[in-house]
Symmetry: C2
Subunit: 292 residues, 2 copies
């Protein structure tokens, strides 16, 4: 197959070019994991738990790495106020300086990729990299069921509410909403899907059962940074699939008139507008689709 061969050639070339980065360039006399850890801690600091998850480290290994960075006076770890078990790693003044140096080395690498090219080529390379970046993100997206009470799901829902509050002309209050309880979005009554990019939650969507055979889609949201990648369609299709698996024959949903991209998505995906079917004060449009 033609396409696959091109993708493999891309993989080879990019791995070779970026291998430099991972082996020597950023390794300023410092093991690679330490540099990655400094990157992940970042200027704001991060919980040890977060660091372990993001870098996929063994807890013992992570702990020992942090002790090492503490000995070098690059990191401090303090307990959080909220949970006495969780500790937060923060960069010290010299840790921040080191992060600055790493960032500037990353910039140098990026510049060295553009420097040998003509202005026209450099511009085309940046454009093509942007395209690959976006489409590779789209292809790396994973959908998975999640309990709406977990931290990740809760975080998405909070961002969803915040966006509604910002976009609705008269704001948004959760208690006035026809809010589904957590159990409504859990099997067997319904289900919630989380959208993840490299493990990080970037969107969500839930489906609940209104009556046997009739479901409703709620809480569908995608982070602004992953919009325009065709994920709305994919998330909707995933939700419909889980609906079908739960023997739903019809799906309904409602939305506000100010959410133009949502209206467009529902129409494009075969939803037809129907009369008001609920008392949701924020709903202005009601849709329905039969699952074949």
């Amino acid at each position: 197959m033609e396409g696959v061969e091109k993708v493999r050639s891309f993989n080879r070339t990019v791995t070779r070019r970026l291998g430099v980065l991972n082996e020597r360039y950023l390794g300023r006399d410092r093991p690679l994991v330490e540099s990655r850890l400094l990157f992940e801690i970042g200027a704001q600091g991060a919980a040890v738990r977060e660091l372990r998850l993001r870098l996929g480290l063994d807890s013992g290994f992570a702990s020992r790495l942090l002790r090492g960075l503490e000995r070098k006076k690059l990191v401090r770890t303090d307990p959080t106020g909220a949970d006495g078990r969780v500790r937060i790693a923060r960069l010290t003044r010299s840790g921040l300086a080191e992060l600055e140096r790493l960032n500037s080395l990353s910039d140098d690498l990026a510049r060295s990729m553009l420097a040998p090219l003509s202005p026209d080529q450099a511009q085309r390379l940046v454009a093509a990299m942007g395209e690959v970046d976006r489409l590779l993100c789209a292809s790396s997206i994973e959908f998975g069921e999640a309990d709406p009470r977990t931290v990740d799901a809760e975080g998405c829902l909070q961002k969803y509410y915040a966006e509604l509050a910002a976009r609705f002309p008269n704001g948004f209050e959760l208690h006035a909403d026809d809010a589904p309880a957590a159990e409504d979005l859990l099997p067997p009554a319904g289900c919630m899907l989380l959208v993840r990019l490299f493990g990080e939650p970037v969107g969500c969507g839930g489906i609940r059962t209104l009556e046997p055979g009739l479901g409703e889609i709620k809480r569908m949201w995608l982070s602004p940074r992953v919009r325009g990648l065709g994920l709305g369609r994919r998330l909707l299709a995933e939700l419909e699939r889980t609906g079908m698996a739960r023997k739903l024959r019809t799906i309904r949903l409602d939305t506000h008139g100010s959410l133009a991209e949502a209206l467009h998505l529902y129409r494009a995906c075969g939803y037809r507008e129907i009369p008001r079917y609920n008392a949701n004060p924020y709903a202005q449009h009601w849709f329905e689709k039969s699952l074949s």
Copy 2:
């Protein structure tokens, strides 16, 4: 800077997506270097020397890796006929089977990058990857001085002669050519540049002194796989730079009428056609440029 930030984002995304490949995917219970070595040995086999150079391995380390693969019955190494010191590593039957598996895993990875996308997105991703691949190759090219008698330079020259023989209507015989001796392309008389892509020679160009202040460009060639990347211009500019460093004020060169891209390149780079200045039987056009 806008472009640099986009390049860095690309680097992050691609590293994360391809990290899977380098850490676990191809590591089917086998250290990464071993897999890379199997890849490099390939179906035809390769000299140990070649493998060390291509993968940048310490000679002792390479030797021990090969012994390990031999113990696992994946590789055989035999002496070459030509040079009693050089040994060639070849894959055994089960080594070939393992290479097949690695290739099919690479294909799977490539397919998994395209699978979640819509046909239109997949096509755009392949196109953008092709563009990045080509331009990243262009930006990874390195120019370096080389002795024309080394294996790498000799290899480029042979391919250059072979191409002339194929393209000239009446063929090409080296002895009939106004061939520069090796010393003519070595300091102080002249110099030869090799074009390398990830260390591998993909082109060459030489400059010799005809008389004080007057130089001539000879043996300029680029491998077909790196054509169309604007490297002709860059190689020519590099040669002119070394000419200037050697106090040349004027550069001449000749070429055959069937080498259309060469004619176009010279004209575009400020060379103007002059009358015949030598007895080269294969020359049909003569050019000159003053180095400012």
